[in-house]
Every structure is written in C-alpha cells, then in structure tokens.
Symmetry: C2
Subunit: 246 residues, 2 copies
C-alpha cells in the first residue's frame, strides 16, 4: 500500500487541554469562553493548532503557557511545574462542523492557584468546578461544553481519578511542599469521597519513596502543626491506594 501524498485527505490537527486543579476542596477544570460561532458564548477546553514544526507534547505545553502562564515538566520529574501527559485523540468526522479536525487531547494536573483567573490570554480562561460541567445536559449552573469537549473532559477526569490510585501523581495537585492532610484533601476532591485520615496517613508514609520529609512544619490548615513533605522518587504506588466503592 504505497504512500501517495495526493492520496490522503487534508486534516487539521489540534491539541485540546484538560487542565485540572483542586481549589477550595473542589476539582476544577480550566475553561475558556468561545467568542465566535459555532457554540459562541459557551465554554470550551483551551487548545489550538499544532504547528508544522512542533511535536504534540510541545504544542500542548505551548498552548498551556499561552493560556495560563503555567510551565510544564511533561512526564518524569514532578514539580515545580504542571504535569502533562497525552490523553487520547478525537477524530470523528463532524466533531467540528467547519472542517475535519483531529484533536490530540492532553491532560494537565496543576497545583491549586490562588488567582481566580489564571493570567494571560484572550478568551478569559477560568477555573470551573468539574461536577457542573459533567452534569448530564449541563444542568445546574453549567452551560454545556462546546463540540465533544464534555466527553474529552470526562475522559480526562476518569484518567486522573484512576491514575492517582497507583501513582504518586496526586502530588502534582500540591505545591512543592505539602502536608499529608493536604494530599489527602486532593484525593478526596478528585474522587469525591471522604477518606479516613489515620489510615491515609499510614498508607502514604508507609510507602517507601513516596513522601520525603523536608523538615519544616506548617499550621496553614489550623490545628496541630503538620510536617512538610515533598514528592519522592517513587512514581508507582504498589500496592495501590484503593478508591472506596461507590
């Protein structure tokens, strides 16, 4: 089956970003407001065209920086910087009414940021709580996401939920130094469940290489001062942290 350059139909290739963070105990995704048709005025995931000379991960990192100013450290060493990995590719004909667009979605896990509106670009990116975005039909308080972005977001959230089970990725939602309690609140926000603080503490501190004590303490959560940790070298969590049954 020989290649013939005149043989292949023209495709546009884009990257879309599922950027997740935990703000005030809630899982939030980065959304932009569409300024034009189709889906004008609705929310969408940030994204854009892949350039002729860049690879897919670079395009995703560039779009992320343009929209939020966040720097990434794609796969591998965590912190400082957001975690980025490829999520999946969406290419149904008709997913964009204007032309054939194949979008390579990426998942970004970012530490909680104080700024209500992450710095930057046009369109006004903002953090939106995930539950409202995923509610069927875009129910209470949520406009429906444009294109097939609700599906992409759902896939990204499910990836994040399952990945923190068996990896140390939850630390990507935390600042460089964090407490056991702060890490637990990340799990609780991403999974939407309450975890036993004592069993959680035993689990994460008992896994070699998962947490590295950094020496100081903090009382930013109130109560007794808590030890500060940073993420350790271990990327795999074995045996995994089990997500409680629903």
């Amino acid at each position: 089956m020989p290649y013939d350059p005149s043989d292949f139909p023209p495709f546009a290739v884009t990257v879309d970003l599922v950027v997740l963070t935990v703000r005030r105990h809630a899982l939030c995704a980065l959304t932009v407001t569409r300024g034009e048709e189709p889906f004008q005025g609705q929310w969408a995931l940030p994204g854009g065209f892949v350039r002729a000379d860049e690879d897919l991960a670079s395009a995703a990192a560039r779009e992320l920086a343009e929209e939020t100013g966040l720097r990434t450290q794609d796969a591998g060493s965590q912190h400082a910087g957001a975690y980025l990995e490829q999520l999946a590719t969406y290419g149904d004909p008709g997913r964009d009414p204007r032309m054939r667009v194949v979008s390579v979605a990426h998942l970004v896990l970012a530490p909680g940021l104080p700024a209500p509106t992450p710095g930057g670009d046009a369109g006004g990116a903002q953090w939106t709580p995930v539950p409202g975005l995923l509610a069927a039909g875009g129910g209470a308080g949520g406009a429906r996401l444009a294109f097939d972005h609700a599906r992409i977001l759902a896939d990204g959230v499910e990836r994040a939920r399952s990945k923190i089970e068996y990896s140390s990725l939850a630390a990507a939602f935390c600042p460089a130094e964090f407490t056991v309690g702060e890490l637990r609140r990340v799990y609780e926000a991403v999974w939407g469940v309450a975890l036993d603080p004592r069993n959680f503490h035993r689990k994460v501190t008992g896994t070699p290489g998962f947490l590295v004590p950094v020496g100081g303490t903090t009382t930013r959560q109130g109560g007794r001062p808590a030890q500060l940790f940073r993420a350790g070298e271990a990327t795999a969590l074995n045996p995994p942290m089990l997500r409680p049954e629903v």
Copy 2:
C-alpha cells in the same frame, strides 16, 4: 484565536496497529514487511491512511480486516472478535521522512490463530515474537522495526501488560470457550513469568462475574479434563491480579 482554514499546516493522519496474540505460549505481534523505501525490507506495524469520512476506530478496524480478516468488537462486549482500543498518538515532526504524518496507534488483542500467516493482503502480514522485536537494536533474530514503530509496539505491550492486571481483557486472547489453565498461560506469556496454578485458579474463579462456567470439559491440554468457561460480564477486576515483582 479564530480558526482560519488557511492557517493550519497540512497533516496526514494514519492509524497504526499493535495486534497482539499468544501463540504457543509466546506473545506475538503482527508485522508486515515493507516493500519500498524508506526502511525497505524491514518490518513495520500494519496501518494506513484515515479516510475523509471515517472515524479513527473505524479506520483501525478496517485496516485490521484488510490485513488479517479479523473482525473487531471495539470496546465493550468481548468475543467473538478481537478487542480494539485506541493506544496513543505519535506525531513528532520527522517521524516519517517524507511528510508530516500523525499516527493514531490502536491496540488489538486477538485470540491465538492456528494459521501461521493470517489471511490476506499484500505485504504478507505475519506473527513475530515480541521479545525479539523489542530487544535493543533489534538483536537476536530480529530486524529493527521501521519508523518509530518499536516505540509504539513497546507502548502497546506495556498497555496490554498493565491492563490485564485490573480488567478481564486477558480473555480477549482466548477462544470463546477456554479453561482456567489456558487463561493462566495467557498471563504467563504476556507477563513473561510463571504463576502458581493453584492460586491463579482460586483468584479467577473467586471473582464474581469474571468467569462463567459453560458446562463442558476439554482435555486439549492433556491431563485431567478441565472445565470450560467464557468471559463474564465483569470487566473490572477488583482487587487486581498482581503482576509478580521482577
């Protein structure tokens, strides 16, 4: 950031297939021999262009049927037919020296087939043992795979290895009816380890909905007749089957 059709560079979009099976206790991948430059005479993964009017999964299923005659039942109910899921997308500039090609790789798990050469197309698809293909530099008995296909194959094999841990996907390597011992040999071939037959039996038969007894017995493995099962409705395996440490 308005869309401008004249704005985006032209991409070719292809699907590549990592088709895995277990033959004679060995994990094998489907390979084709390249008939032209570049990489003429070397092995490559089967694949081809996505057509203008088909989605990505359909393109992968079509290519699979063209190369092997295998039918798929992409995601969801298993058997009869191969399991197909999207793997990842590879789009580095220069991964194909002739033009910018973004390839959406798919993973296919197929039951062991008796025919040495799966039916079909030009190029002569054949089953090749995975270890030789993945050996660094394409060592003993193995030509190096063309393009970045060694990387794609490695990613597909790793996906298969990790997915059978927590899902019932290993049954996709088996015929519609199979024994516990045959299923165990699939795990052993995919992971490359030996498992305890007694503990394995207890694990898989003790997980509700994983295996459904179908009534008959077989002696095709020799020894005492073994009960026949088919894959049950349960797709998740919780707690997971643990891959022994290396």
